[in-house]
Symmetry: C2
Subunit: 79 residues, 2 copies
C-alpha cells in the first residue's frame, strides 16, 4: 500500500526556512504572499493486511523516526 506522511512545524515554532522563501518570493515581486511554512512529505510503500493496520504502523514509524514530535506535527494518509 502507498502511504504518505506530511510533517510540518507546529504553529508557534519559528520557521526560518519559510521566512527565507517568503523573502525570496517578495524579492521576485510576489508581494501577495505571506505566512510561508516549509514542511516535509514522505512517501512509502508498505506491505500490510489492511489499510488500518498500515495506518497504525506508519503512525508508529512517524512517532519513532520520521517526525520530531517536540516541534513537528504529522499526518498519515494511506491509499
Amino acid at each position: 500500500m502507498k502511504a504518505k506522511v506530511f510533517i510540518r512545524l507546529k504553529s508557534g515554532v519559528l520557521d526560518p526556512q519559510g521566512k527565507a522563501v517568503e523573502e525570496a518570493l517578495k524579492t521576485l515581486g510576489y508581494d501577495e504572499v505571506k505566512g510561508v511554512r516549509v514542511g516535509k512529505f514522505i512517501e512509502l510503500e508498505v506491505d500490510g493486511d489492511s489499510k488500518e493496520a498500515v495506518e497504525i504502523r506508519v503512525n508508529e514509524m512517524s512517532e519513532k523516526l520520521l517526525a520530531n514530535t517536540v516541534v513537528e506535527d504529522f499526518k498519515v494518509e494511506v491509499e
Copy 2:
C-alpha cells in the same frame, strides 16, 4: 487564500535521503517498508481575486523559485 505546493523528486532521480530513511526504518524492525521518497511541501497564504488566479501565480512561483524543475516535479493545491 491558502495554497500548498508539493515538491517531489522525479521518478528515476536517486533519493539518498529516502534511502537513508528506509534503512533506518528497517533497522528499527519495519521490514515491510520500501520505496521511500522524501519530498517537501510548502504552505503559503496568498492574496488574490480568484482561486484560478492564485493557482496561476503559485505555479509561476514554483517554477521560478520553489522547485528545481530539472529534478523535481511539483503540484499546486489552492483551498
